[in-house]
């Protein structure tokens, strides 16, 4: 994924575990982020209200004020993207829906690489949302025609019959031709929610797009899986 071109993004990390907190602080610092770390919910909320941050990382079980309360109070005045982190796991999340209001949710344990992918996905979505005018779809190199109004793609006279989500997904991949887009980013950008490993919606949309392009005889490019990284729309024989 393209490096984020806005200098050194500011991250507020609210994590009470000293070992994990210090490690996240150090690691993200080395990756070029400006990290502010605090270990208490109340204090974290105060800092998040006073200073501008690009992303807030927050544990759910915190001393002082728990992460969900911090999130609720922060949301009354700020729309800063928030990534929740917790050992409560994906199942608990699915059942209680506790990540309402958060931009993403990262179940513990997670790797630093995964954390970085999630942060970059959010930064990139925000940068995308802030563009003054939408960039017109690049002229198709191979005549796969995107019709934004109909939300449909055409190959010659044949319409693929895409659903809205499938169209947005294919359009996003097409606009970033030959670039591998992470699942975390595609969830943010297309499905407007965080990515969870057990969530198969995106993979299912990809599966349908492949079927539908094949059905209208379009074979010049295909949506390819780049294992451990994401998806890319590229020519069949191209090495990614």
């Amino acid at each position: 994924m393209t490096p984020i071109a806005i200098g050194h993004p500011r991250i507020l990390s609210i994590e009470d575990d000293p070992v994990l907190g210090a490690y996240v602080h150090e690691h993200l610092g080395r990756c070029g982020f400006q990290v502010t770390w605090c270990q208490n919910g109340q204090e974290g909320l105060a800092i998040a209200r006073q200073q501008a941050f690009d992303v807030v990382l927050m544990d759910i079980l915190l001393p002082g004020l728990d992460g969900l309360a911090v999130l609720t109070q922060l949301r009354q005045s700020h729309s800063t993207p928030v990534v929740l982190m917790s050992a409560l796991g994906a199942e608990a999340d699915r059942i209680s829906g506790f990540r309402l209001g958060a931009d993403d949710y990262l179940p513990k344990p997670f790797s630093m690489a995964e954390l970085r992918v999630r942060i970059e996905a959010i930064l990139r979505r925000v940068a995308f949302d802030r563009r003054p005018v939408p960039i017109p779809t690049p002229p198709a190199t191979d005549c796969l025609r995107f019709d934004d109004e109909l939300g449909e793609v055409f190959w010659g006279e044949y319409a693929a019959g895409l659903t809205r989500s499938e169209y947005r997904l294919l359009d996003t991949l097409n606009r970033n031709d030959d670039e591998v887009l992470s699942k975390a980013f595609l969830y943010q950008q297309v499905l407007q929610r965080g990515y969870a490993p057990h969530d198969r919606s995106l993979d299912m949309h990809i599966s349908q797009i492949r079927r539908k392009l094949k059905a209208i005889g379009y074979t010049e490019r295909e949506v390819r899986t780049v294992w451990g990284k994401g998806y890319v729309l590229s020519a069949v024989d191209e090495v990614v």
Partner: protein, 247 residues
């Protein structure tokens, strides 16, 4: 098999489960302790810890998932799912994971097969069944996926060529931590995959059972048919949407 059920009847089963789980969790812990005390080479130690942590993480996730599936009682939101698309998604993953050639996974279910279900749990169920079939297949074996409409349901089945199991084990393979010794090829895993699959299928009003058929084991699934198919992709009514929602 239930983790929580009418008291009394299942106490014995729960105790068995706890014994199994303790054993499965303590074994990698003891291996780690031994490694910490005896391993001299730092690189090897790191590699070993990483492997054990991966295994324990899988075990903890599977066991917790089974427990959640089994204790949660609210119904899952359902949507129309095209089985062929689901199969293609799962086989792409499975072939990558297991280095299986796609040519040994056959799908005879056609595009008209749409079921109603909860995508994530149904995908998990079918994925576990598929992994199980691949794991127990002989060299060069074929796994066949087929189905037919049965009234309001779709009856789907997945058949391997792994020789099947003894008739008295056909039900037992769905119990947690059951790993049959015997002539079936393949090993590994914690024996939770089929328990999770059965719970996942039952959670959406379906059934999952096993029989010996042809040259191996056949896993049968009964799922509610969807009458309309691919007519809409209004956001699936999952509760884990993370943007603020108006109550």
């Amino acid at each position: 098999m239930k983790w929580s059920d009418a008291p009394g009847r299942t106490v014995v089963l729960q105790q068995q489960l706890l014994r199994d789980l303790s054993h499965e969790l303590r074994t990698p812990l003891s291996r780690l302790r031994v490694a910490c005390e005896s391993e001299q080479d730092l690189e090897q130690l790191r590699e070993r810890i990483s492997r054990e942590v991966d295994g324990m993480q899988r075990l903890v996730e599977d066991a917790l998932q089974l427990a959640w599936l089994d204790t949660e009682r609210t119904s899952l939101p359902d949507e129309a799912i095209q089985v062929q698309a689901l199969w293609e998604m799962l086989t792409e993953n499975a072939c990558y994971e297991s280095s299986w050639p796609a040519s040994q996974l056959h799908c005879a279910v056609d595009a008209s097969c749409w079921v109603r279900g909860h995508l994530n749990t149904l995908a998990q169920a079918l994925e576990n069944i598929l992994r199980n079939a691949i794991r127990h297949s002989p060299q060069g074996g074929v796994v066949m996926f087929d189905g037919r409409r049965d009234g309001d349901f779709w009856h789907l089945w997945l058949e391997d060529e792994g020789g099947g199991v003894a008739d008295e084990d056909l039900e037992r393979i769905f119990s947690p931590f059951i790993r049959l010794d015997g002539s079936r090829p393949g090993e590994g895993g914690f024996g939770l995959g089929l328990s999770i699959a059965r719970n996942a299928v039952q959670r959406q009003g379906g059934r999952l059972w096993a029989e010996n058929a042809g040259r191996g084991l056949r896993l049968n699934m009964l799922l509610l048919a969807d009458l309309h198919g691919d007519n809409d992709d209004a956001p699936a009514p999952t509760i884990d949407m993370c943007r603020p929602q108006i109550a």
